[in-house]
Symmetry: D2
Amino acid sequence: MAEFRYKRRVEFAETDLAGIVHFSMIFRYMEEAEHAMWREAGLSIADRDSDLSWPRVSSACEFRNPLFFEDEFEVWVRLAAARTRALDYEFTIVRGETVIAVGTMTSVCVRKNPEGRMRATEVPERILTRLRAPQS
Amino acid sequence: MAEFRYKRRVEFAETDLAGIVHFSMIFRYMEEAEHAMWREAGLSIADRDSDLSWPRVSSACEFRNPLFFEDEFEVWVRLAAARTRALDYEFTIVRGETVIAVGTMTSVCVRKNPEGRMRATEVPERILTRLRAPQS
Amino acid sequence: MAEFRYKRRVEFAETDLAGIVHFSMIFRYMEEAEHAMWREAGLSIADRDSDLSWPRVSSACEFRNPLFFEDEFEVWVRLAAARTRALDYEFTIVRGETVIAVGTMTSVCVRKNPEGRMRATEVPERILTRLRAPQS
Amino acid sequence: MAEFRYKRRVEFAETDLAGIVHFSMIFRYMEEAEHAMWREAGLSIADRDSDLSWPRVSSACEFRNPLFFEDEFEVWVRLAAARTRALDYEFTIVRGETVIAVGTMTSVCVRKNPEGRMRATEVPERILTRLRAPQS
């Protein structure tokens, strides 16, 4: 999947007293787009039949323009790199022609051992194949 | 514990574009006070050594006055009634002399069965005793 | 508008450690449905050209079944009563045939006076007419 | 102020189905610490008597260890650099000896012009002096 485009509208509770979307919500929008991309690929980030999970190890964002209540916007998400045990994503958030934010996120593939501790493990080939398949 | 008083300050992300705390946060403040009351009683609402959990079955709130960024306020929480399988709480949120909100919440005591489904069960006597003990 | 139906999917950040949607999110879903109903009627709850706003004065909800990550659900919202200065809404949240929650919310119509204090005022006829119009 | 240390406890609604604090909350914790540092310096990030505001232009974080419900932790915040129109902060989040996350945040000083558009402006000397004063 070269790129996935996720559409969204700003909800009231996502704004703050400055009248704009709170910056922490921009990270949530990026995550929503990532999970929507997984669904589009026939996957779930929290598959009940899997013992894998995908905690973030880093995330960064530049905020270029404010988003307002009821704005319609898109999050463009791209799998920028697949490393042995981690996935790197790149995001661009746009409202029409205006770039709202650009960001990155790295998630590591972990498996819970019997004691409940998480341990990094290889990203399954099956998942990579689906995430890289041309978008249907 | 006749009543427990929980102190808090309004954070920026808890406000909305109307310049006041979003009403959904008032429910979170009530929950925070409930959990603080449990800690005060030597308990945890999410005890890792217990298979019980306490989902809400109802909650209601009247919002009487707005709360603003950086306001200091208190949530007064009281165990209003203990039924066989449920606990009823009453809450009053105040900023100084001003009543911000009054609310109620009912949580049911559930145990997960092996299939992962939740089933209502009796509130353990040990928990009631602690919640009702005079505040230390 | 007899009733408006708002579709939504559960996002990851809306769940809690119990593995289900946090109860405070249910109130946010009700609000999202209310605002979507206003948009459907050609209105905005936070119209930049209006000095009116619509704070909640009360809300209540019964939680009947849990919602899980990625569940698709609907919020059915109905204008139950229009009083001189307030609007009463009723909500039913469903996932397929399963009722997740039923709730109510009352919003009061306020105008900010020059000192920035809010004062209850009559619900404009123009707004009532639109909210009551048969759904397009 | 060489460094300010903000204490906090994890609340239930801040966790997600993975059983840990949602990564977007880490950014909120950093912001809470920043605002607490301003209060400690006798300032408010949202002073009602000022026409300045402080939107973020970038933020980044590395997540090193998970935080759990009811964990007590600290956010150490430091004014890393003061540029003409922006402030750079550095954050370390710790639970006891364990580093949970390290992050950065840059806020720009803006003034709203009469049309409501934000325009970057110089950070007032009065604010810098207070933020840099030795902690009382």
